[in-house]
């Protein structure tokens, strides 16, 4: 049973006093509804959240764009192809090796890269890769953090000591360097743990690496919360009623962590997307020829003079995605802040 903070009840909406069959009942707002209400009023957060959703929608539509508009795929090389622009035939890649710039038409809307691949198509597919890895890594990290933080905080003692030391060990490595080391090593040989076998090119590998590297940043705050929650009266009451440890963790502890997780999650996704881009830029993330915003920026740097859009466009998409998530995440955090008051409408 989750207990709402007293301050929320204290500011409960008077209209929630309901008359039911002659008896009155005070019906307070659930904290989720209060938070949602606060969030709805935060137009800036909503706007940036919508921006992120628009980017996600665009990336999800990548196959449609590729087949119906660009008539290619993200891997097809068009080195010796020619296209007609305003009645003039142009090389997709000139004999000197310089690729075509933005055509602002269906094919090669944002131009081509050095292998004659459509930048716009790769941009959208790259977004799918970056977002998939980012969200996947955030989900894995969250799951691992919940397990680690809850076990450590609930059981304390030796269990806490072991888990905390593991987290400290991971935390002691600079995250980018650790990510590069793991990414490079696993890219060469793949990952083989028991029945789990992943090829070096698998997109799961960067997801797993990012998840592992970022676990301490979530697990430690969760552990702190669990340490506090396990001393609460409702936990004692549950124990007195004969509930086992697992039952207590699932039914008493975890629900009280949910608001924290909801606040953390968008920020974790943003962090994971940025981390993936950094690893891919440095060659330790997504393997070629799979597109990702990070690899596209790395490739674009080579042609920064004749084709600045090759690096700038994926960079802008990355910035907008991270900005959208971060501002929205800030809005969610503000919405769940218990110190904020709900302004009620008085008749």
């Amino acid at each position: 049973m989750a207990i709402e903070p007293a301050s929320e009840l204290a500011s409960a909406v008077p209209e929630a006093i309901v008359a039911e069959g002659g008896r009155t009942r005070v019906a307070g707002l659930a904290p989720w509804r209060i938070a949602l209400r606060r969030l709805r009023r935060n137009r800036v957060a909503l706007a940036f959240g919508a921006l992120f959703l628009v980017i996600v929608a665009m990336c999800l539509a990548a196959p449609i764009y590729a087949s119906q508009i660009a008539h290619t795929d993200p891997f097809k090389n068009h080195l010796t192809d020619q296209i007609t622009i305003d009645g003039v035939k142009k090389d997709v890649v000139a004999p000197s090796g310089v690729p075509i710039g933005p055509t602002y038409s269906g094919r090669f809307f944002l131009g081509a890269d050095g292998n004659g691949r459509d930048i716009a198509v790769r941009l959208l597919y790259g977004g799918r890769t970056s977002l998939t890895i980012g969200i996947g890594a955030a989900l894995m990290s969250t799951l691992l953090s919940i397990v680690a933080g809850t076990l450590a905080g609930f059981y304390r003692g030796r269990v806490d000591a072991v888990i905390t030391q593991i987290l400290n060990l991971i935390w002691s490595f600079p995250p980018v360097l650790l990510g590069i080391a793991l990414g490079t090593a696993l890219a060469l040989g793949g990952l083989k743990i028991g029945p789990l076998e992943l090829d070096g090119d698998s997109k799961l590998i960067p997801s797993i690496i990012i998840a592992i590297v970022t676990v301490p940043y979530t697990a430690r705050p969760l552990r702190g919360q669990v340490l506090a929650l396990r001393e609460k009266e409702f936990v004692e009451a549950a124990r007195a009623q004969g509930a086992g440890s697992l039952r207590i963790m699932f039914s008493e502890i975890l629900p009280n962590l949910s608001s924290t997780l909801v606040v953390f999650f968008p920020l974790m996704v943003a962090s994971a997307i940025g981390f993936e881009a950094a690893l891919s830029f440095l060659g330790a993330g997504v393997r070629p020829p799979n597109p990702s915003w990070g690899t596209m920026i790395a490739d674009g740097v080579e042609r920064i003079i004749t084709g600045p859009h090759l690096a700038i466009v994926p960079g802008v998409m990355l910035v907008l995605s991270l900005l959208g998530l971060n501002v929205f995440g800030d809005g969610v955090r503000d919405a769940f802040d218990p110190r904020a008051k709900v302004r009620v409408r008085r008749s």
């Binding site: 891997f75 097809k76 090389n77 080195l79 010796t80 890649v93 000139a94 004999p95 000197s96 090796g97 310089v98 050095g114 292998n115 004659g116 060469l188 070096g200 090119d201 060659g283 393997r287 070629p288 020829p289 740097v301 080579e302 042609r303 920064i304 003079i305 004749t306 084709g307």
Partner: protein, 557 residues
């Protein structure tokens, strides 16, 4: 040696052969310089220090290095009994005495070579050069399985030495007298390329006492000594005080610092003057900028002669079938690859480079797989893949990180997918690439490779890359891991000829055989570049037919 490519200067390189001609002047196709040559002495300014950008040698051990980057640096540190003349142009292919007093006396049956060491020679650490050190060097080359060990396998007793698998076993064909400085080398059969082979860095004597049978950097005799600061980041070449071997350039620059950088960064650094030279070719959008904005310090040359192709491992599926290898040849579009090279590739289907016109190159016309300068025949390629029964098979295309290799293998990946395979790329660090794919255990199916001449002889292209002899060393350059019996037979017959020009037609026929049997998938020859900073004297470009750029000829303004 893995190096770079050339095209139009066929006429200039007609003189390349067993006996070179000293010449001055640039022989390139599209050089923007007036060109000059010479040993860098006389008018060249002496002294100073320079910085060079490079992807660095694959090894600092003279018997183990494979790449041009290694050769350029270490040829200044290790001098062989004979060596190449330090001049620009075709004259650079001429052999001159190195540590030996003179070119060897060759017996009438052309099987015995007798050298005599110059007196009072000392290594860079001060220890005396002994005649017996040469045999030790050949033993190291064979024991460690250096990439060029196949060239010395013609020495009598080498086969027995290899079988003995003991470092200190004897090579019966090499006898020496430390007192007189005489070295006698007996071959199992006449071999026209033997002298050229031992003129390479891998044949340079090093002190037996300080050259263990493991990877190391022993002292050598050369105009420079090497100081490795960090093997993966930087090394320094310092002029050897008192170095004075007639005919060998002493070097104009006092200190040469070589640093590792990406190709893009080193190009920008040369533009900005932070580097004075780069061993690589500018790529991306910097090449057009360099060509147009800095013509007074940039040139392109067909040197050293080279060929680019895709290797296909004939011991693994799907390339164990000739139809598949032919399919790859039909599917390759050299025009596409030309674009990846920024226009510096001359399409070709010959295995030998055009500059070998006098000694074995004869343009294969028509090319069995279509005009290399024309469109590919994807339909025919798909038909052959269907016929092979390997359609849909997974294929990994190997490449290294040096620009533009990743783009080249990405192109091949896409092409293989178009003809019916499921291809993916595997790109690894350039410094370890050839060692990894040259190990049979790796099982590399197909990938990037190239070859720059070590010495001006067709055997230098065929033997290390395609012969059965090459398979004796690990790692090997024969990434096919199989040899064509017709090629081995031809090498046996043509190898002993002292002057390849006398059997040029037969070398040309061998070239055609290798192409028709699809042992390789050739796509062209590259023009190499020399790009200098503003403080370098462009007349001392040091373009060399063997070393690409002879750093001992460099000088400052």
């Amino acid at each position: 040696m893995k190096k770079q490519a050339s095209a139009l200067a066929i006429a200039t390189l007609m003189a390349v052969g067993a006996i070179g001609v000293s010449a001055c002047g640039s022989n390139n196709k599209s050089s923007s310089s007036s060109g000059s040559a010479g040993s860098g002495g006389g008018k060249a300014k002496k002294g100073g220090s320079i910085r060079i950008g490079s992807v660095l040698p694959d090894s600092y051990d003279p018997v183990l290095l494979q790449t041009n980057q290694g050769n350029q640096a270490l040829q200044l540190v290790y001098t062989g009994l004979v060596t190449y003349k330090h001049v620009e142009g075709p004259g650079g292919s001429e052999l001159i005495p190195g540590l030996a007093e003179a070119l060897p006396t060759i017996s009438a049956d052309r099987k015995t070579y007798t050298f005599k060491l110059r007196p009072n020679l000392k290594y860079s650490d001060g220890s005396p050069v002994k005649a017996s050190d040469f045999e030790h060097t050949i033993k190291r080359l064979q024991f460690l399985g250096g990439p060029f060990s196949s060239f010395s396998s013609v020495i009598k007793g080498v086969t027995e030495y290899q079988k003995a698998k003991k470092a200190d076993a004897d090579i019966s064909g090499i006898t020496s007298d430390d007192a007189t400085g005489e070295i006698k080398v007996e071959l199992t059969e006449p071999n026209g390329s033997f002298l050229y082979a031992i003129a390479l860095v891998s044949g340079a004597p090093t002190p037996a006492a300080k050259s263990p049978f493991k990877r190391s950097t022993p002292p050598g005799v050369g105009p420079y000594t090497i100081d490795i600061k960090n093997p993966t980041r930087e090394f320094v070449l310092n002029k050897t005080p008192g170095f004075n071997i007639p005919g060998i350039a002493k070097g104009n620059i006092d200190t040469i610092t070589v640093v590792k950088e990406t190709v893009t960064k080193m190009t920008q650094d040369v533009i900005d003057g932070k580097l004075d030279f780069m061993t690589e070719d500018p790529t991306g959008d910097l090449l057009p900028e360099v060509k147009t904005k800095y013509p007074n310090r940039f040139r392109m040359d067909p040197n050293p002669p080279n060929t680019y192709w895709f290797f296909m491992n004939e011991t693994t599926k799907p390339f164990d079938k000739k139809e598949v290898r032919q399919a790859v040849n039909y599917a390759i579009d050299s025009r596409a690859l030309q674009r990846i090279f920024g226009g510096r590739l001359e399409p070709s289907c010959n295995f030998l480079p055009p500059s070998y016109a006098r000694i074995g190159y004869k343009k294969i016309d028509p090319c069995p797989y279509g005009d290399p300068a024309g469109p590919p025949n994807l339909a025919k390629a798909r038909e052959l893949v269907d016929k092979s029964g390997y359609k849909g098979m997974n294929v990994t295309v190997w490449g290294n990180t040096k620009d533009p290799r990743p783009a080249i293998v990405e192109y091949l990946r896409d092409t293989l997918n178009q003809i019916g395979f499921k291809a993916k790329t595997k790109v690894i660090e350039q410094q370890v690439y050839f060692g990894i794919i040259g190990t049979k255990k790796t099982g590399a199916q197909i990938g990037f490779t190239d070859w720059y001449q070590d010495f001006p002889h067709p055997a230098d292209f065929f033997e290390p890359n395609l012969s059965a002899k090459a398979l004796a060393s690990t790692p090997t350059f024969n990434f096919q891991f199989k040899s064509n019996p017709k090629l081995d037979e031809a090498l046996k017959k043509l190898g002993p000829e002292a002057d390849p020009a006398t059997v040029a037609d037969q070398w040309a026929a061998l070239d055609r055989t290798v192409v028709e049997d699809a042992n390789v998938a050739v796509y062209g020859n590259e023009l190499t570049t020399s790009f200098f900073s503003d403080r370098m004297n462009f007349d001392c470009a040091g373009v060399h037919v063997v070393y690409k750029n002879d750093w001992s000829l460099f000088c400052l303004k």
